[in-house]
């Protein structure tokens, strides 16, 4: 039975029927790649859970992840998502401004210490005492330290909050980094992408509410349910790749027949994300479906490692397309001399990183490859 003040109670008040609620739980189970039958368990947990507070911080960002958040498509209406989470601070969509807005944030940090969720959108510039991004006279770094530091968990949404994204791209004039490098010692989940797909944010939150833990993550703090699989392996055009049917020029016969975009520079073979399965905008489409190559926006430091977007991966010396993403990532870095050995650093520092970030140790397939 639903407990008073629970999420299910809240959804009922919003006019959601029991049937719609259970349907939502089943969809969530599917998004999270849970076995059939987990829907009822999610439903049971949500009937008991209180709506947790969520604060949303924006730093060096374009608001793209906020826009993505507003497109949340299942549950079917955005206000369900707003009600599932009590969104107490979000500069773009909250009613108050100025001092009153700051009060909303202070109230959560002080009164709900260790109990609220924090979402971070945008990069955090560390250079020159953080002067390159200030909100209300405070630096992004100081705000993040305080707000993420007192949160139950932080979810970094989008490429910028993960590893600096475009503000952090070479030559990185403001010293922009992601949350993982700006605030140490916090519980952190990363949802990279440009922007993140909101399905993966709602999935992460429901996982937490349902199981009382964060979803299992890979060596870079990304949930396995969304980032385990390689785009190339689940691509709807994979059969064309295997058969050697390629687009060679935009608008050619292959393009007009929906063939493989590998030679147009597709980064699907290097990128791990659930785009082919979840697509975008209520499963309407995704770049490859629409005829454009994947640009690897969920890959580490993609502005430096995945550009030029239209260069065929073959140009990477020494590695075939079936080489693992970790190795190719290293290859790109060697080839371009871009500077930072992302994968190897991540790999070597996995244990330390997990310990520092309280991320539970888990086994993954690709870790052992």
């Amino acid at each position: 039975m639903a407990e008073k003040g629970s999420i299910y109670e809240a959804l009922k008040r919003k006019g959601v029927s029991r049937r719609e609620f259970l349907q939502f739980c089943s969809l969530m189970a599917a998004t999270l790649a849970l076995p059939a039958g987990f829907g009822p368990k999610i439903a049971e947990a949500l009937e008991k859970a209180q709506r947790p507070s969520l604060v949303w911080l924006e730093f060096q960002d374009c608001c793209g992840n906020t826009e993505s958040f507003l497109r949340a498509d299942r549950p079917t209406v955005v206000d369900i998502v707003l009600d599932l989470l009590s969104v107490d601070y979000h500069e773009t969509i909250m009613a108050p401004a100025g001092k009153q807005a700051e009060k909303s944030l202070d109230d959560v940090v002080k009164n709900q210490k260790g109990k609220y969720l924090c979402v971070v959108e945008g990069a955090i510039p560390l250079k020159d005492d953080g002067v390159y991004c200030c909100v209300g006279g405070k630096s992004a770094r100081d705000i993040a330290k305080e707000v993420c530091g007192n949160a139950l968990a932080t979810i970094a949404v989008g490429a910028c909050a993960w590893d600096g994204g475009i503000p952090g791209a070479n030559p990185n004039p403001t010293g922009a980094v992601g949350v993982k490098d700006a605030v140490k010692g916090i519980t952190l989940i990363n949802l990279p992408g440009c922007p993140m797909n909101v399905v993966n944010l709602t999935g992460t939150v429901v996982h937490y509410l349902t199981f009382g833990s964060l979803p299992l993550t890979d060596s870079m703090g990304r949930p396995l349910f969304a980032y385990r699989d390689r785009i190339h392996d689940f691509c709807e055009r994979r059969a064309h790749y295997d058969a050697g049917r390629y687009v060679r020029e935009w608008g050619d016969e292959g393009h007009q027949k929906g063939w493989c975009l590998y030679h147009m520079g597709c980064k699907g073979p290097e990128t791990y994300k659930n785009c082919p399965a979840q697509r975008w905008n209520d499963r309407t489409s995704w770049p490859v479906r629409a005829g454009h190559n994947c640009i690897g926006c969920a890959a580490p430091r993609f502005w430096d490692t995945m550009t030029p977007f239209y260069r065929t991966l073959e140009a990477v010396p020494g590695f075939g397309v079936e080489t693992t993403a970790d190795k190719i990532g290293a290859g790109v870095l060697i080839a371009t001399g871009a500077g930072i050995a992302i994968h190897s650093v991540a790999r070597a520092g996995v244990k330390k990183y997990r310990k520092e970030h309280h991320i539970p140790e888990i086994e993954t397939k690709e870790k052992e490859e």
Binding site: G15, T92, S285, W286, H292
Partner: protein, 498 residues
């Protein structure tokens, strides 16, 4: 795209023009609607007022202004009950610490309830109609099918995996959904709410110079005389004359911005020669105030012929109105007549907000036209959507320069590019909020936000709702707060954006 295509002399195929018009068009409609309900609406609508409303009277009000289907007493009672339970839960989320009960709120409770209901409906609606971006642009946000030379969208009615008849049918469906909501909900709500705030037709005008690059090419993008929304300039609120736009007259100052020019602090540079060398000279965080006599903004100060210009939907609608654009003229005159005010009312905070709704109406009615043209091209067997003559950089000249002018939903957007040896040598963007949020220039001229705020009456200095109304009416692209820093005499207020 337009800047590089201009530099390389590329003309995109007609289908690419139509696909881009459709992507931009639905972006206008969706952005404007979200702005009205979710980013600006609560400056005018008191949510707590909705709790006191009579649902039967709300139903009468709704049915008197529109035949939108969600208008029964039962419907509004349901919305009110949900709102009551939400408030009783004690978790007010986004609505906590709002300026509820502020004396500047003037709507009757029934109008508040109607607006709250549509706030919620619009949240669902916007997610639905933006699927046009997914169909044509692969995803939203951040569409990913734009190419220099056209679009990566493959058109072929005889394949499953390309843009085919199912794609066309989907476009028609979502364009219809978009059109119905704008016609039956957004515009009627806008006019109903505006009728209670007519004093805001006399506040917040500001600079009175308006710049529009024009948008939605009817044929080639280079034919700047044949844009659906025309290009032009209005000076000093004079609607009797529209001046042509000469892009060579655009310059940017950094006098009060945290950048430096080697020519000095009072120099102005054209974007082709523009540089963005940052040099922060403000206080170290944390700080309370910025010294506005020094540099105080990350925004440069773009000027046209050294004049301050406002950009955005109001600028576009004024230029079109002054040029006698039939659809815009009909929509503007209709709105003015309903409110019982003259064209001078447009130069105001409310005028800015109304222009956005009028533009959404005019543009949403063009979506079926562009879809029809696309279908007609496909019927003729024309599937071309990309011109690859200049795709390979080896086909480029050693040096090239170009510019692209575009009207984003928020206003005039210009990109200037210089290409050398197959790579970008310099790239400068002058974006809408740079025009509107610009700090003072070398002559001490204030930017549009600053001018619009001068003389704004503020009933409760601790709760500057009136300031928000005017700043939000520009639809700022800065997620940052605007801080009230100084109260001077006669209730005039100095603000600065940080």
């Amino acid at each position: 795209m337009r800047a590089v295509e201009n530099a390389l002399g590329i003309t995109i195929p007609d289908n690419a023009r139509l696909v881009r018009n459709l992507i931009s068009g639905i972006q206008y409609v969706q952005d404007h609607t979200i702005h009205f309900y979710h980013l600006h609406g609560l400056d005018w609508v008191d949510i707590t007022g909705a709790l006191k409303a009579d649902p039967a009277k709300t139903s009468q009000l709704a049915q008197s202004i529109s035949d939108w289907h969600n208008s029964s007493t039962v419907y509004f009672k349901g919305v009110q009950d949900k709102l009551k339970s939400f408030v009783q839960s004690g978790q007010l989320g986004l609505f906590a610490n709002g300026y509820w009960g502020h004396p500047a709120y003037k709507l009757p409770p029934e109008a508040d309830l109607m607006a709250v209901a549509h706030y919620l409906e619009a949240l669902d609606w916007q997610r639905e109609v933006i699927r046009i971006h997914a169909i044509l642009g692969s995803k939203n946000p951040h569409a990913q099918t734009y190419l220099v030379g056209g679009m990566a969208l493959a058109i072929n009615p005889n394949e499953e995996s390309t843009f085919n008849v199912d794609g066309l049918a989907s476009l028609i469906k979502y364009a219809d959904i978009a059109k119905e909501f704008v016609e039956k909900v957004y515009v009627p709500d806008l006019l109903a709410i505006a009728s209670f705030y007519k004093e805001w037709t006399e506040l917040g005008a500001g600079v009175g110079n308006y710049l529009s690059y024009g948008e939605f090419p009817n044929d080639s993008v280079s034919n700047t005389e044949n844009l659906f929304l025309p290009r032009g300039i209005i000076f000093n609120k004079d609607l009797t004359k529209v001046y042509p736009v000469d892009p060579s007259k655009i310059t940017e100052y950094v006098t009060h911005s945290w950048y430096e020019y080697k020519e000095g602090n009072n120099a102005a540079k054209h974007p082709w020669e523009g540089i963005t060398n940052y040099k922060y000279t403000g206080p170290k965080p944390p700080y309370q105030f910025l010294d506005t006599n020094q540099k105080y903004s990350w925004v440069k100060s773009p000027r046209y012929e050294d004049r301050v210009m406002e950009v955005g939907p109001l600028a576009r609608m004024l230029v079109a109105y002054a040029k006698g654009h039939p659809q815009v003229k009909a929509a503007v005159d209709g709105a003015l007549k309903k409110l019982g005010v003259g064209p001078e009312a447009l130069f105001s905070t409310l005028g800015r907000t109304a222009a956005r709704g009028i533009e959404a109406l005019v543009v949403v009615q063009m979506l079926p036209v562009w879809i029809g043209q696309l279908a007609a091209n496909i019927k003729k067997g024309d599937y071309r959507v990309f011109d690859g003559a200049k795709w390979d950089p080896s086909s480029w000249p050693k040096e090239a320069k170009g510019f692209g002018l575009f009207e984003a939903p928020r206003g005039a957007l210009g990109h200037w590019v210089r290409i050398k040896g197959g790579a970008i040598e310099n790239y400068q963007c002058v974006v809408p909020s740079t025009w509107n949020a610009s700090p003072r220039d070398a002559k001490g001229q204030r930017g549009p936000y600053e001018q619009a705020l001068l003389g704004t009456p503020v009933a409760e200095p601790d709760k500057p709702l009136e300031i928000l109304r005017t700043v939000h009416s520009f639809d700022p692209c800065l997620a940052c707060a605007v801080h009230v820093t100084d109260l001077t005499t006669n209730k005039s207020i100095k603000v600065k954006a940080v």
